[in-house]
């Protein structure tokens, strides 16, 4: 594979099972032990650096692979003034979820999943979110977007915290277009966020409002033929502090440690890829996304139709920062291309993933 036998190159060889024999010879004794005694996973990454076992998605009630693409576009109707109304229903529920094989976290969830439903609307739509608190603590939904103070979903302001058993409907216009999020803003904020109350809120641009970039806007608008060309994925970078010492023991994209490592995300080589990336990681100042073997364009907050960062392979986000990544593997050699946090600590604690590029 390469003349340059650096440690990193060797590691990669081993990881991708290509010219792995060099690697095998180097740490042969360890590899032997692993092959003979390990619980074998249906993954090709015989590195040992991985969680053991499988998460029971059925018990959790959600599958991290489905979460990548299961947009919730709400119930659509038309208002008297001709505008589109989208109504979403969200319930806060206490639920124990398995975030790494055999490791259970007493989560607070929106609709029984972490991250909560990925709400998707079109710029200018009227949004109504019917929220019911079925949990054991007061909660809110605080949307990142433009709305009135009353609808801000913050403890002590406007409607304030919604007590267990109570309901409230948040209502506002979908703007600005972009890749946004929502989360609980009840106090204590840190606990309410890291327990699992957050989700994606994507507002697609209305092509008619952006005549200069109508083509780009159409490619972003769910349901258009231009959009269906793209392979779109939603990823929330999160972490879990399972022993409540204000440090995360598990990191992941979409909650489940190593989920996309053990079962790579398959992408078609010749269709472009768009990732809606959101960081909600608690306790750590930043999280990041690094793509192997390729570069991408980045649209910070997704609120522009031209890239804010061009040709980068790593991007960092503070908490609640988010953006859109666009890239393509067209013409690439098929195979497995990693992506992960480039804080090695997070990567080794679960936020490690792979795209399987298929010709």
């Amino acid at each position: 594979m390469s003349k340059q036998t650096t440690r990193r190159a060797l590691l990669k060889n081993g990881l991708f099972g290509g010219a792995g024999f060099v690697f095998h010879q180097l740490i042969n004794p360890f590899m032997k032990a692993q092959e003979s005694t390990l619980v074998t996973q249906h993954n090709q990454h015989q590195t040992g650096m991985m969680t053991v076992g499988e998460v029971d998605n059925n018990r959790n009630g959600f599958d991290p692979h489905d979460i990548l693409t299961d947009w919730d576009t709400g119930e659509v109707s038309t208002l008297e003034d001709g505008r589109t109304l989208r109504e979403f229903t969200i319930a806060a529920v206490d639920k124990e979820i398995e975030i790494a094989p055999g490791l259970y976290f007493p989560a607070w969830t929106y609709n029984g999943r972490v991250p909560g439903p990925s709400l998707r609307a079109k710029e200018g739509d009227r949004i109504r979110v019917h929220f019911g608190n079925g949990g054991s603590h007061p909660h809110t939904i605080h949307f990142h977007g433009i709305h009135s103070a009353f609808m801000d979903g913050v403890s002590g302001i406007g409607r304030g915290a919604i007590n267990p058993g109570e309901t409230f409907t948040y209502e506002f216009d979908a703007k600005p277009f972009g890749c946004h999020l929502y989360h609980c803003h009840a106090i204590p904020l840190k606990r309410h966020i890291h327990k699992g109350l957050y989700g994606a809120f994507i507002i697609d641009p209305d092509p008619e409002k952006h005549p200069d970039n109508a083509e780009v806007a159409r490619s972003r608008l769910l349901g258009t033929p231009e959009n269906s060309e793209w392979q779109e994925f939603m990823m929330v970078m999160n972490g879990f502090d399972v022993n409540f010492d204000d440090e995360n023991e598990v990191y992941a994209a979409n909650s489940i440690a190593h989920a996309y490592m053990k079962r790579p995300i398959q992408i078609e080589r010749d269709r472009p890829v768009r990732i809606y990336l959101i960081n909600i990681t608690e306790f750590d100042p930043i999280n990041s996304f690094h793509l192997h073997g390729n570069f991408f364009n980045y649209f910070d907050h997704g609120t522009t139709l031209t890239a804010t960062l061009k040709t980068v392979d790593t991007v960092m986000q503070c908490q609640a920062q988010r953006g859109i990544l666009e890239f393509s593997f067209a013409g690439f050699e098929p195979g497995q291309y990693m992506f992960h946090a480039h804080q090695s600590e997070f990567a080794e604690l679960g936020w490690m993933s792979v795209f399987e590029v298929l010709a």
Binding site: F30, V39, Q41, L103, Y104, N243, E348
Partner: protein, 393 residues
């Protein structure tokens, strides 16, 4: 009283021996079924505990022996090494019941001479930390290693005791006061060993699974072995003297040396001590006084070479057993138990040597609280304290 009523009385007695036990069983059953503590709101998460009892490092990675130790069974969900999740296999797999042990194998390329931090996460996310302070290959059981550890034990135990015993011809030339001084010195030495053994035992006990109550184990073993040895030693109605006293001295010192050997073997085994000639010479110096102590009660009789060999073996060879056990089969609760027994044995000889000193003093000048005895006692303590500077591992 007729024989009938006697039988009836016995029947009643048996009945009353049984009734409390039956009631106890009923109460426990009732407690488990009705959960009477419910109003107290006792619904806290189960208390899980896990102790890493033994770590083995070899070409295939890291191997642990763990023991579950809480009120509830523990299941090990994931393991982090230095903050990264690693695949592992557990035998037997599944939940670990109270006090159950399991072997964990982690294929991990550990780094020689560096530190590794292990975190075992239970299914509820409770972390159990274990530090491998300095990663070195765990000594594997082989003939050459066995001999090497035996040699180490001989240097620590047999050699110094034998050298001390070689003072015997000189000790015989000392007069009554000289002998008393020597016995006082022995008492000082024994006082040091008692403190040292108890401390070592309690330290090891802290590393044992909590349910074994390591601390209590040390104290109870010490107390019980002390009583047994006192009773056995005085079974003929008087305190042991001469050869008997020397034998008990050798036994007590031998058990202490067993503990010392355990500590040395275990320390080398987990890479916490560097095997230097300095350390070995230190132990030889430190323990030489032990031989003098054993020889002291023998000055008034003729003693054969064979007896001396026997005494040297009794006092010194346990160090070999200690280094073997420490290096190849260490477990903190057993080590704590042995050291407790050792402390009890040392306490017994302190009492007996003290009694012997008091007796000989009475015979000569009537009072054992002399300045010379005080100086002897203090010297015994001081010699042990300062030579211990060489051997702190």
């Amino acid at each position: 009283m007729s024989s009938g009523s006697l039988r009836k009385g016995r029947g009643n007695a048996w009945l009353w021996a049984g009734v409390p036990l039956v009631l106890l069983a009923l109460l426990i059953g009732l407690f488990l079924v009705t959960d009477p503590l419910k109003p107290l709101g006792v619904s806290a998460p189960p208390i899980e505990k896990l102790t890493v009892e033994r770590v083995t490092l070899d070409d295939e990675g890291i191997h642990l022996q763990v023991r579950a130790d809480g009120s509830e069974p523990v299941s090990i969900a994931q393991i982090q090494i230095d903050g990264a999740y690693w695949m592992f296999s557990q035998t037997p797999p599944g939940e670990l019941g109270r006090l159950q042990t399991a072997r964990i194998d982690i294929p991990y390329a550990w780094v020689q001479d560096e530190t590794h931090h292990l975190t075992l996460l239970s299914k509820t996310g409770v972390p159990f930390e274990h530090e491998i302070a300095v990663a070195v290959p765990t000594p594997k059981f082989s003939l050459s290693r066995l001999l090497a550890f035996a040699l180490l034990g001989i240097y620590v135990g047999v050699v110094p005791v034998t050298l001390g015993l070689l003072f015997y011809p000189y000790l015989k030339t000392l007069g009554q006061r000289g002998l008393q001084f020597l016995l006082a010195l022995t008492l000082g030495l024994l006082a040091f060993l008692l403190i040292d053994t108890l401390q070592e035992g309690l330290e090891l006990a802290a590393g044992a699974t909590a349910a074994f109550q390591g601390g209590s184990l040390v104290w109870l073993a010490a107390g019980l072995s002390f009583l047994i040895l006192i009773v056995v030693g005085r079974r003929e109605g008087h305190a042991p003297e001469d050869l008997a006293l020397a034998t008990y001295l050798a036994l007590g010192i031998g058990l202490h040396n067993l503990g010392e050997g355990l500590a040395i073997g275990a320390a080398f085994g987990i890479g916490e001590a560097a095997l230097g000639s300095f350390l070995v010479i230190g132990f030889t110096l430190h323990n030489i006084t032990e031989g003098i102590g054993i020889a002291a009660p023998l000055t008034k009789r003729k003693t054969s070479l064979l007896t001396f060999i026997g005494l040297a073996s009794l006092a010194g060879l346990p160090a070999v057993i200690g280094t073997w056990t420490g290096a190849f089969a260490f477990s903190p609760q057993w080590a704590a138990l042995f050291l407790g027994v050792g402390a009890g044995a040392i306490l017994q000889v302190i009492v007996e040597v003290g009694a012997y000193l008091a007796r000989t003093s009475r015979q000569s000048q009537g009072n054992w609280l002399t300045l010379s005895n005080l100086v002897g006692f203090s010297m015994g303590l001081a010699i042990m304290y300062f030579t211990a500077f060489f051997v702190n591992i």
